[in-house]
């Protein structure tokens, strides 16, 4: 194994556990590729042909049509269109994200472990129920986590070409998720070395420049790919923030003041505006604020289509800024409430029985889950209900605790910071409490935990 950062003795991670058991002989003869292949096959069989939700079908329809909007990062639809040239449907997207994720984890673990234990650790992480459930879905969160893992793994390589490829992978991750640049920042700045012998100042300067470059490149790519702008931000986060902030303001604001504030925004409510905002607000999901066209304060669709007129959009964004400026505490209370929902249990395991069968059939997609897939999903749903495995808050707490142990472990620190930064971004942009928002933090925590245990065990011996 080639290394650039530090020189650490690689250890057989499970050696103390299996040294005196018959399991050792069985494991000792297995090639690392076989272990990885087993993990890959397990996940692909569970996920086949790649589970789709409302968001996934949005990318898919755009990919088929070749016309991209910016309500979701268009790079995903563009990649899907490319892969659809080879294999129709979501299968190849699933293969790409699972392969990239597994390869990335393997490369990361190879820093601390011998190939076979590294393969075992990578497989263990990918089949870990909260990870596997999310990796089965064709979502921006899963795809981003895959390319972040691959990028992090490649950045740790001794070869410059591989490290540059790692930057490309992180650039792709940034293009797949608008919040990903905050996750790539610690990875690139802490881990990227263009020339190993450079002084710290020069090294970090180059790394920071590299991060700026890949971030601008990814944003530019998304901008160039988008055929039309729907400004999804103004239909989702902005509306949710306005309603949420209003809900946490103690006194009732008079209608006159709110009418002035929302002038030009296309407000549909004439009377008791503040009261309506309190009624509509739900920290679990922004859909309640725009879902009912009769009650909603603004007429908006979930997809942002058709986009609001330019002046109306500017007016509503200005209203949000004004509200946050005047009532920062209320805004923070709203964001904390949403974040608390994100970190809590519930709604983690997606319903595997395909809901939109007619839609899938029109798109030429298979509509049936196998009995095994349904049985495993049921088991995952039970885990979700009866254990804390699917509670993101738990992973956040452990990640924060691990920070204290990772001060002198550069790779671990970078990975933990990356996961926490992504979760931090969720604080500001989350509009629902999906578990997938926390996927990268969960992965980072698992990787960090395994790596720290292995290294501490090595030192202890």
């Amino acid at each position: 194994m080639l290394r650039t950062v530090g020189t650490r003795r690689k250890l057989p991670i499970f050696a103390p556990v299996i040294r005196r058991t018959p399991l050792r002989r069985a494991i000792a003869g297995v090639h690392p590729w076989v272990v990885l292949a087993i993990g890959w096959v397990v996940v692909v069989i569970y996920a086949y042909p790649g589970q789709l939700t409302f968001d996934s079908l949005r990318y898919f329809v755009q990919a088929r049509a070749g016309e991209y909007s910016d309500d979701q990062p268009p790079a995903i639809a563009a990649l899907w269109r490319l892969l659809e040239y080879l294999v129709a449907g979501p299968c190849l997207m699933l293969v790409v994200q699972v392969t990239a994720f597994l390869a990335g984890l393997y490369l990361i673990f190879q820093r601390s472990l011998r190939p076979r234990p590294a393969a075992c650790a990578a497989t263990a992480v990918i089949v870990f129920p909260p990870v596997m459930v999310t990796m089965a879905m064709i979502w921006k969160d899963s795809l981003t986590a895959s390319f972040l893992a691959l990028g992090a793994g490649l950045l740790l390589s001794a070869h410059r070409r591989a490290r540059v490829a790692g930057l490309a992978s992180l650039c792709a991750a940034s293009a797949f998720h608008y919040a990903a640049p905050v996750a790539t920042l610690p990875l690139v700045v802490i881990l990227f070395e263009y020339a190993p012998c450079a002084t710290p100042l020069r090294r970090y300067a180059i790394a920071a420049l590299a991060w700026v470059a890949i971030t601008l490149l990814s944003l530019g790519l998304d901008h160039e790919l988008a055929d039309h702008q729907v400004h999804g931000w103004s239909s989702t986060v902005v509306v949710h923030d306005i309603v949420g902030t209003l809900a946490y303001i103690d006194e009732d604001l008079p209608d006159e003041k709110l009418k002035t504030l929302f002038a030009g925004t296309g407000l549909q409510v004439e009377e008791e505006i503040h009261e309506r905002a309190r009624e509509l607000y739900n920290p679990r999901d922004f859909v309640s604020t725009i879902g009912d066209p009769q009650l909603a304060m603004w007429k908006r669709s979930l997809t942002g289509e058709p986009p609001a007129p330019h002046d109306q959009r500017k007016a509503i964004e200005a209203a949000r800024r004004t509200l946050i400026h005047e009532y920062p505490k209320a805004y923070l209370k709203h964001r904390i409430a949403v974040f608390a929902e994100v970190l809590s249990r519930g709604g983690s395991v997606p319903n595997r029985v395909v809901a939109d069968k007619d839609g899938r059939q029109i798109l030429g997609l298979s509509t049936r889950n196998s009995d095994l897939q349904l049985a495993v999903t049921k088991w995952f749903a039970n885990l979700d209900r009866n254990t804390a495995l699917f509670v993101p808050g738990l992973y956040l707490v452990v990640s924060l605790i691990l920070l204290g142990f990772a001060r002198r472990e550069r790779e671990v620190l970078a990975i933990l910071c990356s996961g926490l930064a992504m979760e931090g971004a969720v604080f500001f942009i989350a509009t629902s409490r999906d578990f997938r928002h926390s996927l990268w933090m969960v992965v980072c925590m698992l990787v960090a935990t395994i790596t720290l245990i292995v290294r501490r065990a090595a030192r202890a011996r």
Binding site: I45, Y48, P49, E84, Y85, L86, V87, A88, G89, C91, K357, R360, Q361, L363, G364, L365, S366, T367, R368, N369, S370, D371, L372, Q373
Partner: protein, 482 residues
């Protein structure tokens, strides 16, 4: 060739398999395939199709819904099997791309892409044959298990497994020839009988396939070419059978039929001649009538069968206006795509690349490349070059015997019936070319268990054994065999 040697074997195999999947994904389904999948999901098997295949599919469908699991099984078995057969004659780095090329050969890939019993059988048979050539006994026994699966995939597969098992299976190379062949014949008998027992045990619904189909066709076909018979004589012969016409009984079997469309038109005549027997009494009457008609008129029976067989071999020239493509490449039953797709909850579309490949294959399917008689006569011609070449001889005989069995059992004239003949001819041709291009020490048996044994007996070196057979392994093998 040097460039080929730089590519690892597994890479060539992986590229070959992925290339095939680009054309085949997620597996094409015909009427038969849909029916078998429905049987698999319901857990009720009729003898209309081999029940072992439906039972296998029910297990695979439990893991992955739809045709993809079966496609992976049949294609991986086939590719692995052809690779192992090639390895008996050449290096791994050459055998792997060659196996991939055979999988890509349009006739092979277009049939292997469809979930049919023919494709499943070819996959298991290729893998079984490859394993039988191993110098170790363990893989050879696994090879027999694969042959068992192949036998269970088609009712007439026993004709194809007979030459493979009797010629290629070696329990212990040290045995004399009569003992060796006795064991291999016994192995074949055990496989064939156990498959019949297992299939019969799995069947939950008897469709009386023979009395409802083949027996009726045989009677009508034989009467067509029989000497002139009166209505009274025919009624005596067909006593108790559910006849539709009441007069001009022989004339109704003799309506003009084009040779190139003989089977289809004869089926039309048969369907208008008999009602489908609905009770045990009628079925018994039909069985008796079949014996009286066919056994009493062997020459007309053989004439009618030859007409069918000639069409199986595609000997009659098809008029330009009626020429189509031999390829089947639809994701659900093309006769009713929407309903069949809904019934199995499976829909698929082709990618742009796949669409181009499908168009190419469709065009190739209308060329002479898909004429079965070419491979039939080529296989006969190649027999002349198989002197002291057991693998090629076994494969060619398997293809030819299997094809010849169609003379008796083919009810219709699907191209896929000749699929194993094409595969065995292509693989045998490659083996013969490899043998002539690079003769090895150990002669024509290089790589086989017998070769290992002879090399050991003559003091030959282990490295001379083509398929990686090792003297030490063989010694252990020999001890195991007593």
């Amino acid at each position: 060739m040097k460039a080929l040697h730089r590519i690892p074997a597994w890479v060539s195999l992986a590229v070959g398999w992925l290339g095939f999947m680009a054309y085949a994904f997620p597996g094409y389904m015909s009427y038969d395939s849909v029916l078998q999948l429905l049987e698999a999901r319901a857990g009720e098997y009729s003898e209309g199709h081999p029940p072992v295949m439906a039972a296998t599919w029910s297990i695979v469908d439990y893991v992955i819904a739809g045709p993809i699991g079966m496609l992976v099984i049949q294609s991986v078995c086939f590719l692995g099997g052809v690779y192992l057969i090639m390895r008996s004659r050449m290096s791994a780095k050459l055998a792997a791309p060659l196996a991939s090329l055979i999988l890509w050969f349009p006739i092979v890939s277009t049939t292997m892409a469809v979930i049919w019993k023919d494709s499943q059988m070819a996959g298991y048979l290729a893998l079984g044959t490859g394993l039988l050539l191993s110098p170790r006994r363990g893989p050879r026994v696994v090879g027999l298990a694969m042959i068992w699966m192949a036998t269970a995939m088609r009712w007439n597969a026993l004709a194809m497994t007979l030459p493979i098992v009797t010629i290629l299976f070696v329990w212990n190379p040290a045995y004399r020839w009569w003992k060796r062949y006795s064991i291999s014949v016994a192995a074949w008998l055990a496989i064939t009988l156990s498959v019949q027992v297992a299939s019969a045990a799995l069947v939950t619904r008897n469709a009386h396939l023979w009395q409802s189909g083949m027996a009726l066709l045989d009677i009508v076909g034989t009467l067509r070419y029989a000497p002139d018979l009166t209505d009274a004589e025919i009624k005596t012969l067909l006593d108790g059978c559910p006849l539709v016409p009441s007069s001009d009984l022989q004339a109704k079997t003799r309506i003009p039929i084009e040779d190139w469309n003989f089977a289809a038109e004869l089926w039309d005549v048969t369907n208008g001649y008999f009602k489908v027997p609905s009770n045990e009494q009628e079925r018994l009457a039909l069985s008796g009538a079949w014996k009286r008609v066919v056994i009493a008129h062997p020459k007309p029976y053989l004439t009618y069968r030859w007409k069918i067989f000639a069409q199986v071999l595609q000997l009659p020239d098809v008029p330009e206006a009626n020429r189509g493509s031999a390829i089947y490449q639809w994701f659900t039953d093309i006769q009713d795509p929407v309903a069949s797709g809904q019934s199995i909850e499976h829909t698929a579309t082709s990618s742009k690349l796949q669409e181009k490949l499908r168009q190419l294959m469709w065009w190739l399917g209308s060329t002479r490349l898909f004429q079965a008689y070419i491979y039939f006569f080529l296989a006969i011609a190649l027999l002349a070059f198989c002197f002291r070449d057991r693998e090629s001889f076994g494969l060619l005989m398997s293809g030819l015997v299997g094809e010849s069995a169609l003379f008796i059992v083919a009810p219709i004239t699907d191209w896929r019936y000749s699929f194993w003949l094409v595969v065995s001819t292509c693989v045998a041709l490659a083996l013969l070319i490899a043998r002539r291009a690079r003769p090895r020490r150990g002669g024509s048996l290089a790589g086989t268990p017998l070769a290992v044994y002879k090399l050991e007996r003559d003091g030959g070196a282990c490295r001379d054994v083509g398929s990686g057979g090792c003297l030490q392994r063989r010694q252990g093998d020999s001890r195991g065999g007593g």
